[in-house]
């Protein structure tokens, strides 16, 4: 049975991800690309939350990211809601260990980045084209895979402590 109460742990995790994304990873980048910690946090949150809170978490996290940037409000909200939905539909297959979770996070990040590029281009919000878009499309999921391997054991312990049940990360 999935924990149905939205956990404070998840709120803290998403808030830390947004702050780290907009401050630390605003400066620390690998060949100009940073991992997308917000996607990572939203995806990992779906392992703890029920369906509706998971979708709302994605939506709110995306809206906050939109508000902090210059793109149209709602762009990342739509993307992260869809990513959360795909995560909900696939989470059972990923819940088998840290490596599986990392690969699952990377796959969902790829979906998220592709959606962001697609919607951003349709709404004239993202100015990336060709090789540069492809480079980021591939690098961000790879960086998220590494980030997931590093943070998933920690977040797993946090979520277990928050929910009182075992979360396999």
């Amino acid at each position: 049975m999935i924990e149905r109460r939205p956990g404070l742990t998840v709120v803290v995790m998403v808030a830390v991800a947004i702050l780290a994304q907009t401050t630390l990873f605003a400066r620390v980048r690998l060949v100009g690309v940073a991992p997308d910690l917000v996607v990572l946090a939203v995806v990992i949150a779906t392992l703890r939350l029920a369906d509706v809170p998971s979708l709302v978490t994605g939506f709110v996290a995306g809206m906050l990211m939109d508000a902090l940037g210059s793109n149209a409000l709602g762009l990342r909200a739509v993307v992260l809601t869809l990513v959360a939905y795909v995560a909900l539909r696939t989470r059972d297959r990923a819940d088998v260990g840290p490596l599986a979770v990392a690969v699952w996070v990377a796959g969902l990040t790829l979906v998220g980045v592709a959606l962001l590029l697609l919607l951003g281009t349709l709404f004239d919000q993202i100015g990336l084209t060709g090789g540069e878009a492809l480079r980021r499309l591939l690098l961000v999921p790879v960086l998220n895979l590494v980030a997931a391997l590093v943070v998933s054991p920690l977040t797993g312990r946090m979520l277990e402590a928050g929910s009182g049940r075992r979360v396999r990360l």
Partner: protein
């Protein structure tokens, strides 16, 4: 195995997606104003102080990590800087000569350049969103005299971009390399239009009615015809020599300002507003000899015309 499946999942998903698209459409149509503008404003007001504190905490860590990454490049950069210093010193000598000649000519013609007080507001870069949004957030806003449209330069005086939107205590800056608006510039004595090659970090310079080639290394500065930027701000340099085709040429320009290393920027109050000088609390006021004198340019070349795209 999870047994629980919420029947409200799909309706919730559809509702949130519809809300998301509605908000996006409203925001784009309102151009950052209206209800969505208020929503964005409120969120940034709420989060900016937290972001500022977080930036102060993570900056030492970021410095350390940047330092590690930079060690390998430092030696090559040092050698490059030494050679550049030598050429800049040589250029400076010729510029001094030109300045003296200009002073003599001004005296002869009884001309005085219109000097304007430009308010400079230093601001810290406190945040960016992700790898797909080149804009960044600074910790100064309307309360400090920073308004949408104000030009932004870095600590070396190189053009960075312009303020896209401002709240009471923060603002979003869109860099020229990510801006859809072109900048009217001067390169090698010729006026041209500089637009971003989006996603590449470089810019495209278009010059018309020119018989001469544009040489590699030619410096590009903002033009007196620009209404959005003060004249004479260095922007970048031409990457490779380009010959005109049919009287027009298109060159690639590498901006001087390195966005990835920006920690402090300076917002210029432009055009100078005498009321703003008295009403806002300026942090620094400097004399800018090159400022002003381009009021008539508004009808002519506009620095913020839509760019050529990317």
């Amino acid at each position: 195995m999870r047994e629980y499946r919420d029947t409200r999942t799909v309706p919730t998903l559809v509702t949130l997606i519809v809300i998301g698209f509605l908000v996006m459409t409203l925001d784009i149509r309102a151009s950052g104003g209206g209800l969505t503008g208020t929503l964005r404003d409120g969120t940034t007001r709420l989060l900016a102080p937290v972001q500022r504190v977080a930036a102060a905490i993570v900056n030492p860590l970021a410095d350390f990590m940047e330092g590690l990454a930079d060690i390998a490049d430092l030696r090559a950069e040092n050698a490059d800087l030494r050679s550049r210093l030598a050429s800049v010193q040589a250029e400076l000598a010729s510029v001094q000569d030109s300045l003296e000649r200009l002073e003599v000519l001004e005296r002869l013609n009884d001309l005085t350049l219109d000097e304007a007080d430009l308010i400079q507001t230093p601001a810290n870069v406190i945040g960016r969103t992700d790898s797909f949004d080149l804009s960044f957030r600074i910790d100064k806003g309307e309360a400090d005299g920073v308004l949408a449209g104000h030009p932004v330069i870095d600590e070396n005086g190189y053009l960075v971009g312009r303020v896209l939107s401002a709240t009471a205590h923060g603002a979003v800056v869109v860099p020229i390399v990510g801006d859809r608006e072109a900048v009217t510039v001067v390169a090698g004595g010729r006026i041209g239009s500089l637009s971003a090659i989006l996603g590449s970090g470089q810019m495209r310079l278009d010059v018309f009615d020119t018989p001469d080639p544009m040489l590699a290394g030619t410096q590009v500065v903002t033009s007196f015809q620009s209404v959005s930027f003060p004249p004479g701000i260095p922007v970048g340099e031409v990457v490779e020599t380009v010959k005109p085709v049919g009287g027009a040429l298109r060159a690639t320009v590498e901006p001087f300002s390195d966005l990835s290393r920006l920690r402090v920027v300076v917002v210029l109050t432009w055009p100078p507003d005498p009321t703003a000088v008295t009403e806002t609390p300026p942090t620094t006021v400097v004399e800018d000899g090159a400022g002003g004198g381009d009021g008539g340019a508004a009808e002519g070349g506009d620095g913020d015309h839509p760019g050529g795209g990317g």
